[in-house]
């Protein structure tokens, strides 16, 4: 055997430069799309580019986006919650019911958020305690919660919320900056820290990828999933407070179909529908995109039914595109 002089070889600890991977990431694509839609909107209608108009645009998506933040965590963990819109309806109904008993503004907010928490915990217990698939459980509770609202309300509506209650959905913190929008920004930062900077967030990613490895590493998988369902419940309760306050009334058909828009936001934001991947920044960007698109279409007098076609198409496209791109890539390698 001949002796080879021993030299160390420099092996890179990552294959692509971080700047390069950031440049070609889903987030930068989303940012590009958001800016494009913004510019298109500016040219499409003269009413778009004014502070109050833009402020109105934020109302269009903040309530859904608040739920999307929590939904992102649920989907990354490999589960899904389809009952969020029904929770809004039920929480709003419970607030209306509390109003009939003379409960004041702080009490109404507490009732809304608490109802959301209980509904979320109910989902979570069915999924983690009984080990049922979340898609089936939440399809069931989607009908169940909304059905309860219909039983309580029938074709009636609750009205007459106190004036101080209107602040949550209609109030402004400063100039054109609404309370809803500020709340969304604060929540986005908190969820970013939770998902990307804490061990709880890391466990969510690992559970979505390999729940058995997580369990064998001592991660309490079922408890974490229960917490995540409670979290979507709470955020749905918060959205119920905002929406009820903004509309000033409760009907059982409130927030109909929102679960699809929330999930579209999450998936558009780059969260893998199969679990294990995603980011809060992506979800926030996707929320802005959805808000700008629907608001722009609204200014152009596009009817609601066309908008739901656009959103449905968007959902299919964002799920299909990465899969198709991957297939194309694999074909090229062969």
């Amino acid at each position: 055997m001949t002796k080879v002089p021993l030299t160390t070889r420099q092996i890179p600890d990552r294959l692509t430069h971080p700047f390069q991977s950031a440049l070609f990431s889903w987030q930068s694509l989303l940012l590009l799309v958001a800016v494009t839609i913004f510019i298109v909107n500016c040219f499409a209608t003269p009413y778009f580019l004014s502070p109050w108009s833009l402020s109105d645009a934020t109302f269009n998506f903040t309530e859904k986006a608040l739920i999307a933040l929590a939904m992102a965590l649920v989907i990354i963990s490999g589960e899904i919650d389809l009952s969020v819109a029904a929770i809004i309806a039920f929480a709003s109904t419970m607030m209306g019911l509390a109003l009939q008993f003379g409960v004041g503004t702080p009490g109404l907010v507490a009732v809304g958020i608490l109802t959301g928490l209980i509904c979320g915990a109910f989902n979570g217990v069915l999924v983690t305690g009984l080990g049922l698939p979340s898609i089936v459980v939440t399809i069931g509770t989607m009908s169940f919660f909304r059905g309860l609202s219909f039983i309580v309300l029938g074709d009636q509506a609750y009205k007459g919320y106190p004036t101080s209650f209107a602040f949550f959905g209609q109030g402004y913190v400063w100039w054109v900056i609404s309370f809803e929008f500020v709340l969304f920004l604060i929540m986005a930062v908190l969820f970013y820290i939770l998902l990307h900077r804490t061990n709880f967030g890391r466990w969510i990613f690992v559970i979505g990828n390999n729940p058995i490895a997580a369990e064998f590493s001592g991660v309490r998988v079922r408890r974490i999933k229960l917490v995540l369902f409670c979290l979507t419940g709470i955020m749905s309760g918060v959205a119920a407070v905002l929406l009820t306050s903004r509309l000033g009334s409760t009907r059982p058909s409130i927030a109909q179909g929102w679960e699809l828009e929330v999930i579209t936001m999450v998936v558009l934001g780059g969260v893998s529908i199969l679990g294990g991947a995603g980011s809060i920044i992506g979800v926030v960007l996707a929320a802005f995109i959805m808000g700008l698109v629907t608001f722009g279409l609204g200014l152009l007098n596009v009817p609601g039914i066309v908008m739901s076609i656009v959103i449905g198409g968007l959902l299919i496209a964002v799920i299909a595109l990465p899969i198709l791109a991957k297939r194309l890539q694999q074909r090229n390698i062969k």
Binding site: R14, L15, R197, F205, N209, N210, V219
Partner: protein
């Protein structure tokens, strides 16, 4: 059992039984493991070896029997309990989470946190570099998710994770089944090093060739029962094969309850 091993065993499993809906997957099986020893648990698919070991790692609850760790009875009901007794399990397929990097896998469930309660990724990566440097000096790809690593690299991440937290007892399920020759060599070197540190290792395999040279003793299972125990130096591979296939105990082995009865 083996007469030459003395002192308190690291683990002693006594008359352990577990049934799934009337089928006795493990029936009154006993096995022990001493510090610095490698015991291979062999048997066909369905012989009960994985089930036996999953009870030890906390994945299944036993119906009967006892587990002793360092001579004291252990109460193991879930993987967290098993960890507290220093028992770590490495599964071939389930070992790592693909979507995060090596350091995140090493510290999964026991993350280092900053004083703000957030993840201290820099500290974890620095520790990971130290540990991995000892196990597998060629390993450099610390910033990539584990899905981009080779089979051997993933296996070394899994093993590093197990030993990082002072495991005393290591369970390795088919440790070399998916590895190439060079990577298998790496794993066997690693096992030698762990033995020197006094760690006891259970190797689970259905393929005797994978583990015969690594093990000090073999314990063979068939139909949920223990066929027998033998020191690898006292028996040949063919004799152990006879134990696995026919339940026939050779002269060099100690017969268990599952051994074929000579009529």
């Amino acid at each position: 059992m083996s007469s030459e091993t003395s002192g308190t065993p690291l683990v002693e499993i006594k008359d352990l039984s577990i049934a799934f809906g009337g089928i006795k997957a493990v029936d009154q099986a006993s096995v022990d493991l001493f510090p610095g020893e490698v015991v291979a648990i062999l048997g066909h698919n369905g012989a009960g070896k994985s089930t036996l070991i999953k009870v030890l790692s906390g994945a299944y609850k036993r119906d009967g029997g006892q587990i002793f760790v360092n001579g004291e009875e252990a109460d193991i009901n879930n993987p967290r309990d098993a960890k507290q007794y220093g028992i770590e399990t490495i599964y071939q397929t389930l070992a790592v989470a693909d979507n995060v990097d090596a350091a995140a896998n090493l510290y999964l469930g026991r993350e280092i946190l900053t004083s703000f309660g957030t993840l201290d990724d820099a500290a974890m990566e620095a520790e990971a570099r130290k540990v991995m440097g000892r196990l597998n000096p060629n390993f450099q790809r610390f910033k990539e998710p584990v899905s981009k690593l080779s089979g051997g690299q993933r296996q070394s991440v899994a093993i590093a994770r197990a030993i990082l937290f002072n495991a005393r007892i290591l369970i390795m399920d088919e440790p070399t089944a998916a590895l190439g020759p060079q990577e298998t060599e790496q794993v066997s070197e690693l096992i030698q090093q762990l033995k020197k540190e006094g760690i006891g290792i259970f190797l689970i395999s259905h393929d005797i060739h994978d583990v015969f040279d690594l093990a000090d003793r073999v314990a063979v299972m068939k139909n949920g029962q223990m066929v027998g125990y033998a020191r690898t130096e006292d028996v040949s591979k063919d004799e152990v094969l006879g134990m696995i296939i026919m339940g026939k105990c050779p002269a060099g082995a100690v017969a268990g309850p599952g051994a074929m009865q000579e009529a």
